[in-house]
Symmetry: none
Subunit: 221 residues, 4 copies
Amino acid sequence: MSGIIVPDLTVALRPGGYARGQEGFEQILRAALSLLVDHGASALTLRRIAAAAGMNLGSLNYYFKSKKDLIRELLNAIISSYEGAYHQIVHVPGASAEDRLESLITLTLEDNTTKKTTRFFPELWAMANHDPFIHERMTELYDRARVSFNELIGEINTDLASDQREALALFISASMEGMIVFAGYEKPWRPQMPMLQAISRKSFVQLVRTLRPEDMLGATD
Amino acid sequence: MSGIIVPDLTVALRPGGYARGQEGFEQILRAALSLLVDHGASALTLRRIAAAAGMNLGSLNYYFKSKKDLIRELLNAIISSYEGAYHQIVHVPGASAEDRLESLITLTLEDNTTKKTTRFFPELWAMANHDPFIHERMTELYDRARVSFNELIGEINTDLASDQREALALFISASMEGMIVFAGYEKPWRPQMPMLQAISRKSFVQLVRTLRPEDMLGATD
Amino acid sequence: MSGIIVPDLTVALRPGGYARGQEGFEQILRAALSLLVDHGASALTLRRIAAAAGMNLGSLNYYFKSKKDLIRELLNAIISSYEGAYHQIVHVPGASAEDRLESLITLTLEDNTTKKTTRFFPELWAMANHDPFIHERMTELYDRARVSFNELIGEINTDLASDQREALALFISASMEGMIVFAGYEKPWRPQMPMLQAISRKSFVQLVRTLRPEDMLGATD
Amino acid sequence: MSGIIVPDLTVALRPGGYARGQEGFEQILRAALSLLVDHGASALTLRRIAAAAGMNLGSLNYYFKSKKDLIRELLNAIISSYEGAYHQIVHVPGASAEDRLESLITLTLEDNTTKKTTRFFPELWAMANHDPFIHERMTELYDRARVSFNELIGEINTDLASDQREALALFISASMEGMIVFAGYEKPWRPQMPMLQAISRKSFVQLVRTLRPEDMLGATD
DNA sequence: AATGAATGAGCGTTCATTCAT
DNA sequence: TATGAATGAACGCTCATTCAT
């Protein structure tokens, strides 16, 4: 995940419509995301959010009845903003499955170098370790993101069982997430990202193509 | 990094001081690490650390003149605790380079499933995004951890240039770090870790063996 | 300064805000002044101010975003409270300049025996020695207070140059300030204050009347 | 007072001899005075004193059993250091009483421009307002300082009763103390100090010479 | 729809003090 | 003599929250 150029937060905001005013709502979430990305989770205080949103502290309570509420809505909005962009990429007509896999790898790693992705996801991972709700939403997000990989793997290698295919998709997805930490925005290996992309494409495509079901058997903990 | 079973968190002796003082020092760092692992960076408050260390709040100041100081010492202690374990593993006498590579991969992924590693590293990554000092220490830590991979890659594949070898080592290291988030301690894919290990060994060894220098050329951003 | 009976400490209305807010604002400043007068600068802690104002500690932050801010506002309020009273005294119609000078001297020394003046000004002098902002406000306060003396001196003795007139005003003003320490509220020489007033009137009037420009020449450091 | 060039603190230190080591004792008091002069009473903390004295915090307790003790000893030392210097000045052989009075005025005002005097005395005045012990020591100090003035006044003007002479001495002394605040070290009127000295000499000598007993009668509060 | 006002808890830090060594 | 170790209270400040307006 985090591998798709992400539209504005507003796109996916409030699918239904809340009881509260729309513009203030979005303003607050945008301010919160901005703080999270720029200064980390410790900067996510209601005061700073209110200030960044050009609002009074008391007014936040009007839109969100608690801070936990605000953060949940923020995560929902961000996660929703990532969804929907996946299928577009995979279903490019006329391209071979391997081409589409390479394309998906490239796009994901590209997105990993953006400031938002580099900064947001480590915060998400850390939060997920100590908050069951966040963990659940994160899992959901990545589950969705892997659907595309699953489909492509199934097309390229028809011998793998579904759980093997899914493990392979997870391996590929996790590998790319790991690169955020080292080659993301303003990271030391950022200049080598093109080389890392080349390695990734080569490695993952070869892996998907050549992996045999029996390679994954006999694995015990 | 995060791939080696780590000894207890001990600290270089400070010059002078009674035996009691050294105890307090380590007690505090142990308490801090424990809090970080169990409840995240937001739980790293001096009051909670003092309580966990069975101490008065004011006493912390005697050992660490500021919170930043304490955290620096904590990181130093953790990082130091990971060092030293590296070379032992790589320099297993008599084993082939590929065997040793597989062994290193396995050990790293094993360690990624421990509570400490699963919980500590995401916090580290998030902190590193907003604290230059932490970023620097983290980079240093991983640089050291990759030395072993670099050596093994050089033995297995003699055609790669040094920057290519290093990029490959980073790719492998980053991939495994990424799996912490999905298959670490209490994570949904934890039961599939053996399968992921098998995929990892297969994929990384094959990659190291087969990657050609020209595979990494022509890579543009 | 410190020579005029001072009205209650009131504060310029802040724009907006409920009636309640203005009250809290003044309540805090009154409490702070009271503490300063009764227990000195070391008692000027936010907790004690809050308690004296019948407020929660956190509420102070609502009115003053820092302690420095509170102290600045306090000084501004006190200084403002002293202004306005000056011209009334000097411009008593029909009285001779010498009578008005004597009256100003008497009023100043009277005020110097009040608890507020006796306690506040030494604190101000001490603070001004180590805080540039306070020093500036103090200088401003005394500059304003000397205007009246300057005018009267100019009327009584037309031979003095302006810088000589100003130095003479400062001499008189400083002399009276010095008496705060010895003959102020609850001070050992308080009972002799009438005698000191008589000496002051006699001395200062004679000095203003008889001082020649050449008396102040030839003075070298 | 504060009008005599003051010898080193050490001169008057420990007339008897304490149970504790001499050098550490003096070192601490010197450090404390230095802090008081440079940063005010709020900087007089045991930690800072210990640091400035090149000592351990715990060691202060060895020399002074409490902070109050330390401050009392500090004031005693400073006050003692001012004593003894007075008579030397007054008893210059062969000079007329008026000359000696002028000389005493000049010396006092000179000393008022030193950093130590400008900084120390306002702190003393403020402390004296809220600490009976300090008030008592301060009163004692100034009582001693006025003895010289009293003697000179008695020589110049033989008509005054003793209480009148003493009130006059206090008036002169207080006037000069007041100038510390305005024309002391780094104060705005410091450059005009020569002019203020000229005014002072002229005014005080004339006052002492011409003041009649009946000028001070009829003064009621 | 939004704000002004206030609260109580907790933050990192510094304080004077104590006491065994 | 002097220090290392520790305590408990208080410091200025910021926190999430509440609620009348």
